[in-house]
Symmetry: C2
C-alpha cells in the first residue's frame, strides 16, 4: 500500500471507527483496525465481533494493499500530527508514516489475521434522517436493562411498519417508548428486532459525526442489522428472544391526572431526593381540591423535606411512592414545558408524557411499601 | 440560631469551604461544617485536622447560635434551591430550612463536638495579589513528590525575604522554581516553610474564587501558616524537616544551549512519546552544525518515531535521554513562545526556561542508560 491523505480526513475516519476497540487480551487482533485500498479510497474497519464499523475516506492511491494496525497508537499518532498531507506506506508488516518533520514506523499484523466481516446485501427497509434517529434513540437507550439475566431486555426493541418506527427500552422498573413517523417507507411486512445496548450507544455516537440531514438506511437480514450512509456502515448482531408484551402497561385512562411545569417538577424531585432513604423512595400526595401535589421524603438519620407543587390536577386524591431516580430519568428525557402524569391508584404504573408531543411515553412502576 | 440569607451567598460560601471534607469514617464530625453567628455575620468552618477553612458571609440575624451540619447534604440542598431568600433556624440539634415552596429539616450535631480550630494572631509578613499567587503556585505544585517516604519534599517550599517569595517543588526527578517579586514587604528576617501539597491545591482552588485583585495576607507562626482575606481564612500545618539543598542543580552555564519554539517542541515530544518504551525514554540528539535537534523514541514491540526540530543551537554536539513525562510537565508549565534548554553533557541535569521570563526555572534529570 502507498497513499497520500489529509491528516484531517484520516483523523475523522479513525474517530468514527475506533471507539468500539477496547483492550482485548484474548484476541489481540481486535485491538487493530484493518486498512484496505478499495476502489481508489481508503477503507477502515474495526470490530469487537458483535459490531463492525466500516468507513471510507478519500486518498491519493499510488499502490494498493492492506494491513492491520493497533488502533490506539495509530489514533494517538494521527490526532497529534499537524493538519497537513500524510504519506502512508507499507513494507512487510510495518506501516511507515511521514508528515512534515515526523517519520514513524508502526508494527502491524498481516490482514489475513483479521476477522471476516459479514456482508448484508438486502434492500433498505427504512430511510431516516441522522439527527432524528439520534434524538429518538438517545431518548430511550438509557432505560435498557444492564443485567444479563434477561437478554431480551438488554437491548432496544425496534418495531417497524409502513408508517412508523418505534423504539422501546425497559429494565422492568420503567419503560420508554419513542415513535418516529416515516414517509414513503418501502417496507411491506412488519419487523421487530432487538438491538443490543452497546450497538445503540455506538450508533448514537456515530450519528453525531454525520451531517444532520444525512439519510440513514436500515437493512435487516436474519440475525443482523445494518445502518448505512454512503461513507459509513455499522453492522451488528440482533438479540434473539421475545420482548415482553409491554403495551398493556400503557393506560390511556387515568383515575388521577396531573399537569405540571416540567422544570419545577424536576427540580422539586431533585431536592426532595436528597432526603430519601436507601430505597430511593419519594412520596407524592395528590390533593386535587387544592390543585397541588405534596412531594415528601424522609430518612430517620438525615432529615426530611416536603414541597408543594401547584398544577392542573384532576380526579381522585391519592398517594403513591416512586423511586426518585426513575422519575428523574423520565423527566430528564422530556423536552416540553409541561408534563402530564397519569395515575391509577398506588399499585399501578404511572404514565409520564410531554404535553403536546405524543411521540414519547414513559411508564414508571410504583414502589409498593 | 435564626437567620435569613440569600441562596447565592450561602451557596458560594459552602463551595469555598466544603472541598476538604471527604468521608471520614473514623471521626464523623469531620464530615460536618460548623455554622456560627459571629458579629452579625454567618461564619462557616470546615476542617480535616490538617487544614481549616473559615468563611464569613452576610445574613440578617434574628437570633444567635451555632450548630454543625453534614456538609455534603447541606451543599447539595442549597445548590439546588432557587436563588431566593432562605430562612434558617435551629431547634435542638436540627436545622430547619425554608425557601419558597421547600421545607427541609436536617439532623445535625452539637457544636461542642467540633474540633477546636487554632488561631494565629501574628502580623502578616507578605501581602500578595490573589491571581499572582494562584498562578505561581499552579506553576510548581504538580512537581511535588506524592510519596510519603521523604515528607520534606511532599510539599511546596516557600522562601520569603524582603524582596521576593520563591516557591519550589520537586520529586527528585525534576524540580520547578517560581519567583514572585514583592514590593513594600514588611518582613525583616528570612523565612522558609514547607506547605503540604493538599494545602497548596486547596489554596489554588480558593484563590480562583476570589477577586483577581484581592490582597492575600500570609502569616507564619511556629508550625502553622495562615492565608487571609477579609472574608476567608485558610490555616494549615507546616511540614517539618530540611528541604534538600537544590540550588547547586541550577547551572548558570551550559556546554550546549538550544532555543526552540515552545509549541513545536511540546508537540514533537508528545508525538515521539507514543513510541517510547516502558521507561518513558526519548532521546535528544543535538546537531549544532545543522542547527537542529533530532528527537527519537523506539519500542521493539510497537515501532519508532524520529523528528527533526530546527532552532538556535549553540555549543557542543551531544545526546541525552529524558523521561518524556517530565519534559512535557515542564513545557506545559511554560507560557512563552520560545524556550531555552541548557545542557551539560548526558549525565547532568538539563535546565528549561521560558525565554524572556526569568521568574520560572525547571530542572530535569536525565535517564542514565
Amino acid at each position: 500500500m502507498e497513499i497520500f491523505c489529509l491528516q484531517e480526513n484520516f483523523k475523522k475516519s479513525l474517530n468514527i471507527i475506533s471507539n468500539i476497540i477496547g483492550k482485548n487480551l484474548n484476541l489481540p487482533i481486535l485491538n487493530n483496525i484493518l486498512l484496505t485500498i478499495e476502489k481508489k479510497r481508503l477503507r477502515l474497519i474495526s470490530t469487537d465481533l458483535e459490531i463492525a464499523i466500516t468507513h471510507w475516506t478519500s486518498a491519493k492511491v499510488k499502490k494498493e494493499g492492506e494491513i492491520t494496525i493497533p488502533a490506539k497508537l495509530l489514533s494517538d499518532l494521527i490526532n497529534n500530527l499537524p493538519n497537513k498531507k500524510i504519506e502512508i506506506k507499507t513494507k512487510g508488516d510495518s506501516l511507515y508514516i511521514k508528515c512534515e518533520n515526523f517519520k514513524s514506523m508502526i508494527k502491524g499484523v498481516d490482514s489475513k489475521e483479521f476477522p471476516i466481516i459479514p456482508k448484508i446485501k438486502g434492500e433498505s427497509i427504512v430511510n431516516v434522517g441522522a439527527s432524528k434517529l439520534k434524538q429518538a434513540l438517545g431518548q430511550v437507550v438509557n432505560f435498557t436493562s444492564l443485567s444479563d439475566i434477561r437478554p431480551e431486555i438488554s437491548g432496544v426493541l425496534s418495531k417497524i411498519n409502513s408508517k412508523e418506527i418505534k423504539f422501546i427500552a425497559t429494565d422492568s422498573f420503567r419503560l420508554g417508548e419513542k415513535t418516529i413517523s416515516l414517509k414513503g417507507n418501502k417496507i411491506k411486512t412488519k419487523k421487530s428486532v432487538i438491538i443490543p445496548f452497546k450497538t445503540v450507544q455506538e450508533l448514537i455516537r456515530i450519528l453525531g459525526e454525520q451531517d444532520k440531514e444525512e439519510i440513514i438506511e436500515i437493512i435487516i437480514e436474519q440475525n443482523q442489522i445494518l445502518f448505512k450512509t454512503p461513507d459509513t456502515q455499522l453492522i451488528s448482531r440482533i438479540i434473539e428472544g421475545n420482548y415482553p408484551n409491554y403495551e398493556q402497561l400503557i393506560s390511556k385512562q387515568f383515575e388521577t391526572t396531573l399537569i405540571l411545569d416540567k422544570d419545577e417538577f424536576l427540580n422539586t424531585v431533585r431536592v426532595t431526593s436528597l432526603f430519601s432513604s436507601k430505597i430511593n423512595d419519594i412520596r407524592l400526595k395528590v390533593v386535587s381540591k387544592k390543585s397541588l401535589v405534596e412531594i415528601f421524603a424522609q430518612d430517620m438519620e438525615i432529615g426530611e423535606n416536603v414541597s408543594e407543587l401547584k398544577g392542573e390536577i384532576k380526579g381522585k386524591e391519592m398517594e403513591i411512592v416512586f423511586n426518585h431516580k426513575y422519575l428523574l430519568d423520565g423527566l430528564n428525557n422530556i423536552d416540553s414545558n409541561k408534563v402530564m402524569l397519569g395515575l391509577n391508584g398506588e399499585t399501578n404504573p404511572g404514565i409520564l408524557k410531554p404535553v403536546g408531543d405524543p411521540s414519547f411515553i414513559y411508564v414508571i412502576m410504583p414502589i409498593k411499601l
